[in-house]
């Protein structure tokens, strides 16, 4: 596919890194240094210039562009770039990174010719809201085609290896010592494992109670470190769940803005001189959950460790830089992808999804899910489908009448079936080809 990425920042770089493996990627940016850094390591075509300048697009030899991804930090630049690119090139699909919801939800979206818009801050704040429903979960993913969920749990309640016999759910991933596998037969779990479970919420709750300690702890009182856009969005989302929230920030101006935007429903604390005394003076030590949501990963890690040390049982850090992901995990911090990483994941999922198939990423991109629904008039109904060989790192299931059924040979599709393939990066191409070409 021919893909243009407008913007060579962190989002643009991470998109180019993944997409340039199998596609022809052009990256456009005004920042020569950022562009040079990308071109130094990735096999892409760098174009130095303003993404809003029509002349920039004239030098591109291939005029048919499958995806135009505008991912700069500025809504205005992204919107103008898509108009200009559509005028100069044949853009089949455009995806924009936006902050202002109005552009993405109003009729402007159609007028601008935007196919998809990604609101990264919303994704992150909703993830945190979902996480609170599963107090010990590290991540929760929901799907359009099924009410089954994908939940990751850190195993802490066992002392040695234990064999699990799943019922109503499936183990679709184990991250152990930074290695990730999708187990086909061997379902032995060990203390410290991060287990990815796909299935029925209630059954997964049972698993959590059995294998994750302090599972039933409260989550009513929440402290958020950061009064900037991310902190406000998280607070707004949590207010819907009627949580008691306190926001702490050392910038008085940010505190004032947050107070206005949250209409006084949240206690905002300014920590200009010290945070430590707030644990006693403002009762932060009685919080059930601490969320460090700044743009600085090092600061988020320190705030989480500090909160842990002061007795807060669950600490969540927003992860802005993937390099800190493993470190955060190893320190016992629940990690939620920050807006930039969430944008990358959402765009990658969008590129690989269409009306028939959706793609989801988990475990920082190490795990991939492809799902396809058999609709009422689908040509798949009643036909024999040869299933991919059931093996480690490639599992195929059919969700039929609320049941997850293993597929390891052949199957006959029925109306309402949801076919799901779980795979790692190595098997992705095989899984993708199989699910897109079902019945052919």
């Amino acid at each position: 596919m021919n893909i243009i990425i407008a913007g060579a920042g962190q989002v643009g770089f991470n998109l180019a890194k993944t997409l340039s493996r199998d596609n022809d990627v052009i990256v456009i940016d005004q920042n020569q240094q950022a562009l040079a850094a990308i071109a130094e390591t990735l096999d892409i075509l760098p174009i130095n210039g303003d993404i809003k300048n029509p002349l920039i697009y004239e030098n591109i030899l291939e005029k048919e562009i499958d995806f135009f991804l505008a991912v700069t930090n500025s809504d205005e630049a992204n919107l103008i770039s898509i108009i200009v690119a559509q005028d100069r090139l044949e853009v089949k699909k455009s995806i924009l990174r936006l902050k202002n919801r109005y552009f993405g939800n109003s009729s402007l979206k159609r007028k601008f010719g935007i196919d998809s818009a990604v609101f990264a801050i919303d994704i992150t704040s909703k993830t945190i809201s979902n996480l609170l429903k599963y107090p010990k979960a590290n991540n929760v993913k929901q799907f359009e085609y099924t009410d089954k969920e994908l939940i990751s749990i850190k195993v802490t309640k066992i002392n040695g290896p234990v064999e699990v016999f799943p019922k109503g759910y499936e183990i679709v991933g184990i991250e152990r010592n930074r290695e990730f596998i999708i187990p086909a037969k061997n379902r032995i779990i060990e203390p410290g494992d991060l287990i990815y479970l796909f299935g029925d919420k209630i059954e997964i709750h049972h698993f959590c109670k059995e294998y994750a300690s302090d599972y039933t702890s409260d989550n009513q009182n929440i402290v958020i470190f950061s009064a900037d856009e991310m902190g406000i969005a998280i607070a707004k989302e949590l207010l819907k769940e009627e949580k008691d929230i306190k926001i702490v920030d050392n910038d008085i101006n940010k505190c004032k803005i947050a107070n206005e935007r949250l209409e006084g429903k949240v206690t905002i604390l300014n920590s200009k001189y010290s945070t430590i005394h707030l644990y006693d003076d403002e009762g932060l030590k009685h919080a059930d959950i601490a969320i460090a949501a700044t743009k600085n990963d090092e600061y988020n890690i320190i705030k989480c460790l500090e909160a842990k040390e002061r007795g807060i049982k669950k600490v969540i850090a927003i992860n802005n830089d993937l390099e800190y992901y493993s470190l955060m995990h190893s320190l016992g911090i629940v990690v939620v992808r920050g807006p930039k990483i969430a944008t990358v994941n959402a765009i990658l999922e969008n590129i690989n999804s269409d009306d028939a198939v959706i793609k989801k990423i988990f475990c920082g991109g190490k795990g991939q899910i492809y799902m396809r629904k058999v609709y009422e008039n689908s040509s798949l109904i009643g036909i024999h489908v040869k299933v991919l060989k059931y093996r480690d790192n490639l599992l195929t299931f059919v969700i039929r009448d609320g049941q997850i059924i293993h597929c390891d040979d052949a199957m006959i599709c029925e109306e309402g079936d949801v076919i799901a393939v779980f795979c790692n990066e190595e098997n992705e191409e095989e899984a993708k080809n199989w699910i897109y070409n079902l019945g052919q």
């Binding site: 020569q32 071109a39 390591t41 990735l42 096999d43 075509l45 030098n59 030899l61």
Partner: protein, 479 residues
């Protein structure tokens, strides 16, 4: 350092080279020449490459920057060894001489150790030309284009290590596609040249060999007196035009294919043409002062400047016998080179542009101490790293030439021979002046000299940094 990856890359590139060496075999069959030893060599070469590949077939080829740089260096030495074998087996020269000839071929230098070229078997003549042609656009460029399993990141650093110019220029997102379109333009120009040479009276064999030599800006001929043998103005002018065309960035032709003429509107191209025309016209005038008619003077002068400036090294006549001013002009052409992204060697126009613009910028700064002065080429601001690397290149070019010239001088040769031989070898030009002039060759140098000269040619072809970085302690440090 993953030596397995390096070995696997060697086996893959080796097989690609082996495939092209099969063409020698066909030439030998056509001309009914003895090929038993050569056949054994080819079979052994393929077998070794196949065995290496077979034992490492499960190993995932992954090349980091260090592996890529080391691979490119070792690969060019391997090319010399492989290319030398047929010469060593079939002509009466030492292995060092054969190695020199092979390196001269692959680096498109065109310096030869043979005194009687016309007595060589046809397949050896063809072997010399195919070495030029393969080396002209680059072995790695060819390998990256043909071998899809060379991983993209690895191929990027490999490509950079072998490419010439101030920075890697791409036209398509994928380096592999870039390599293929470059080879497409290269093949296209070669075919056009050979058809025109045939049209103007060359036989097919000579036309193919000279087309290979011209487009790669190599300089090996099938005749003792180079192109002078033909005494045919049609052939001279066709070759002049194609030598000049080969000194242009090949991406310009690819752009032209897509109806984009911007490749011919760059400052580098404009200065390349201006310098070529000025030097050729002045040389025509100077040469005609000796009583030569203007037709002949223009033909030989334009040919000679094109040949030297693009670092090809063909000759129509012994220009070292021309006047001192003429020699001075030709010597100037030796210092220039072609465009970045072309098959020509030398310093290259773009570097002179950057150096002069920086110098003028400094002069302007003296007059306007508060002014912000940036260096622009084709309307684009140059990064400081490009300026530093250009000045560094210039310094290292001068120093390497001085060292080699001093070595040759110490071996007892005159100053003119020493200086021009160093320039001719490191600049990948071929002939110089004095004892290495267009009517002479490198046969008289000792085997050790030839090995040193071969390394000089490789250093020049890989534009210094790729070779010298391997000699630094930093390169081998793990931390």
């Amino acid at each position: 350092m993953s030596y397995k990856s390096i070995l696997k890359l060697f086996s893959l590139i080796g097989s690609t080279i082996g495939f092209f060496l099969f063409l020698d075999f066909f030439v030998a069959v056509i001309y009914n020449e003895k090929i038993l030893n050569f056949s054994i060599f080819l079979i052994l070469f393929f077998l070794i490459n196949f065995l290496i590949w077979f034992f490492l077939r499960e190993h995932k080829l992954k090349l980091g920057i260090k592996e890529s740089i080391l691979s490119v260096n070792l690969l060019w030495i391997m090319l010399g060894v492989v290319g030398a074998f047929p010469l060593w087996l079939y002509t009466k020269v030492s292995f060092a001489s054969a190695f020199f000839e092979a390196i001269s071929g692959f680096t498109t230098t065109g310096a030869t150790v043979y005194t009687d070229i016309e007595s060589l078997p046809h397949f050896i003549l063809f072997h010399r030309s195919i070495m030029h042609w393969l080396g002209g656009m680059g072995i790695i460029v060819l390998g990256v284009g043909l071998l899809y399993f060379i991983n993209p990141t690895g191929s990027l650093s490999l490509f950079k290590a072998e490419s010439t110019g101030v920075k890697l220029e791409k036209l398509t997102p994928k380096i592999r596609d870039n390599a293929l379109v470059l080879w497409g333009a290269y093949v296209g120009l070669t075919v056009l040249d050979l058809l025109l040479l045939k049209f103007f009276g060359m036989n097919w064999f000579d036309a193919i060999n000279h087309a290979f030599s011209t487009i790669s800006t190599g300089g090996f001929s099938t005749k003792n007196s180079s192109l002078g043998f033909y005494n045919n103005y049609g052939i001279f002018w066709v070759t002049t035009v194609f030598m000049v065309l080969s000194g242009v960035n090949f991406l310009a032709y690819v752009r032209l294919f897509y109806r984009d003429s911007s490749g011919f509107k760059t400052e580098e191209f404009k200065w390349y043409i201006i310098i070529f025309l000025v030097l050729s016209t002045v040389l025509t005038f100077v040469h005609s002062l000796n009583g030569t008619d203007i037709d002949s003077s223009a033909t030989h002068s334009f040919f000679t400047i094109a040949s030297i400036m693009t670092t090809t090294g063909f000759a129509t006549t012994d220009y070292s016998l021309w006047s001192h001013i003429a020699v001075g002009l030709i010597f100037t052409a030796m210092l220039i080179g072609g465009n970045t992204g072309s098959t020509a060697g030398g310093i290259k126009i773009i570097r002179y542009l950057i150096i002069f613009k920086t110098l003028f910028g400094e002069l302007k700064r003296i007059v306007h101490p508060n002014a912000h002065i940036y260096i622009f080429v084709d309307g684009k601001k140059l990064a400081n790293s490009v300026l530093t690397s250009t000045f560094g290149f210039f310094f290292i070019y001068v120093m390497t030439n001085v060292m080699l010239a001093l070595y040759i001088y110490a071996r007892g040769y005159d100053a003119m021979t020493s200086v021009t031989a160093a320039l001719a070898l490191i600049g990948n030009i071929g002939p110089g002046f004095g004892e290495v002039g267009p009517a002479n060759n490198f046969a008289n140098f000792s085997d050790i000299d030839k090995i040193i000269f071969s390394l000089g040619m490789i250093i020049g072809r890989l534009e210094f940094y790729t070779v010298f970085v391997v000699l630094t302690r930093e390169f081998w440090k793990k931390f």
